[in-house]
Symmetry: C2
């Protein structure tokens, strides 16, 4: 018996109205960040992603009005994410279980790579990720690092945080180098303050984790929640995203994303 | 004395009206393919690049009307390429030494990665590239492989060809894996016919090379000339590109492009 759910299993679980974090679920399938915006803003947003590939690595851009991913069979982007965030005029309005009633023919969906892809590789290398098995969410922080703007889109970079044993830091860098479309190498190792994180135990999104071992070093990766900040700054009439840590699961396999 | 020209030296040489191939020149600087199109077609073209990252890896997209690259100090995209190709309504019209008189405020310039980036690494590994030192142009072929379309853009993939000693093929794959934004790994090793190349000594662009050694294997990489085919199929009112093998030289260093 194989108890690991397939990508479709997880999509169907979300479609049936369940709300859950996806870290560690369907653990050989590529998970993605999601941004859905009207077509008229899509050029500037795609340009923003092109100029900021570490936080915003593009995996797929749908045609306008399309709601099924060409990388996820029988998928429906309107229902298959465990929780959606709705933004209007740059302000977060509410969470939603699905977006069927909001759907428009001019909506363009962007799927962006997610660091969950390299987590299995970290686990295989003996690097413990406590939130991974507990159903908790990875800690995420808004840094002091400016992204490169494109049109109306600009803002600070968001990062994920993982505490890595000192002797595994080099291996961690090697592992994540293989996945440039899933945020790739860390943007900071060890010095939280250097990227404007004054309290590394108080994340802006996700769950805090206080390490009980002096040997652990905080390591930070660019995060696909970054565009949620840029979207708020751009004050678009409407934007829909996934809720942090509650991702869209494709049929792509993590290992297929490795460049080497 | 260092006789290797800087990136600016090569741009100035082109600006002064000289016509030359850039393979092997300024050999630690990143060279790029160039596509210049009106803003109204830029969304579909950027999407075409996103969907076809092997032939069309995006290095930079300029703001409309901008003619200086943020990756090349004091550059002018209207003069700094040795030779331009002008297409009108999908047909190749003429070559040009510069495009000053054609420039429009709604022109968007795209820089795409080029396989010349990994050529120095191949040379360092004892892989001889005869056209590299001779001032000749790398052989390029239109294959039978369909790219993924976006809006009006569609067409066959163009590839570059290099003849590699049999015992160096594995090393060649390793070296080029490090540069996913410069076409990365080969798309075909050894079997030209499998990608629709019936005569591997008769390229569609560039110069033919007939190897004199039975030990050499033809290896093919996706090529940044691919969008020139897609552009012709799209029949845009006007498009300007570099001439194959006569590239734009940035101030970026080849080694900075390596992901690992």
């Amino acid at each position: 018996m194989n108890n690991i759910p397939s990508s479709l299993d997880v999509r169907l679980k979300a479609r049936n109205g369940n709300n859950f974090t996806t870290s560690g679920l369907a653990n050989s399938f590529v998970q993605t960040n999601v941004v859905i915006i009207p077509k008229k803003f899509a050029y500037d947003f795609m340009l923003y992603c092109q100029r900021n590939p570490k936080p915003c690595p593009l995996i797929e851009v749908f045609d306008p009005g399309e709601f099924s991913s060409s990388n996820a069979k029988n998928s429906d982007i309107r229902t298959d994410i465990p929780e959606y965030k709705i933004f209007k005029n740059g302000k977060f309005l509410n969470f939603s279980e699905n977006i069927i009633s909001l759907w428009r023919e001019d909506f363009v969906t962007f799927l962006l790579g997610c660091s969950f892809t390299f987590e299995n590789e970290l686990i295989k290398n003996g690097i413990d990720l406590p939130y991974f098995k507990s159903g908790k969410n990875v800690p995420m922080f808004i840094t002091s690092i400016d992204t490169i703007n494109a049109g109306k889109f600009s803002g600070k970079m968001v990062v994920t945080q993982r505490w890595i044993p000192r002797e595994k830091v080099v291996r961690t860098i090697q592992i994540t180098s293989r996945f440039p479309n899933q945020h790739g190498t860390p943007i900071q190792v060890g010095n939280s303050e250097e990227i404007g994180i004054l309290n590394p135990h108080k994340p802006d999104f996700g769950d805090s984790w206080i390490p009980d071992d002096k040997n652990l070093v905080p390591v930070y990766w660019a995060c696909g929640v970054t565009p949620q900040i840029a979207i708020q700054n751009a004050k678009l009439e409407i934007v829909i995203t996934h809720s942090p840590g509650k991702m869209f699961i494709t049929d792509l396999k993590d290992e297929d994303m490795a460049v080497i």
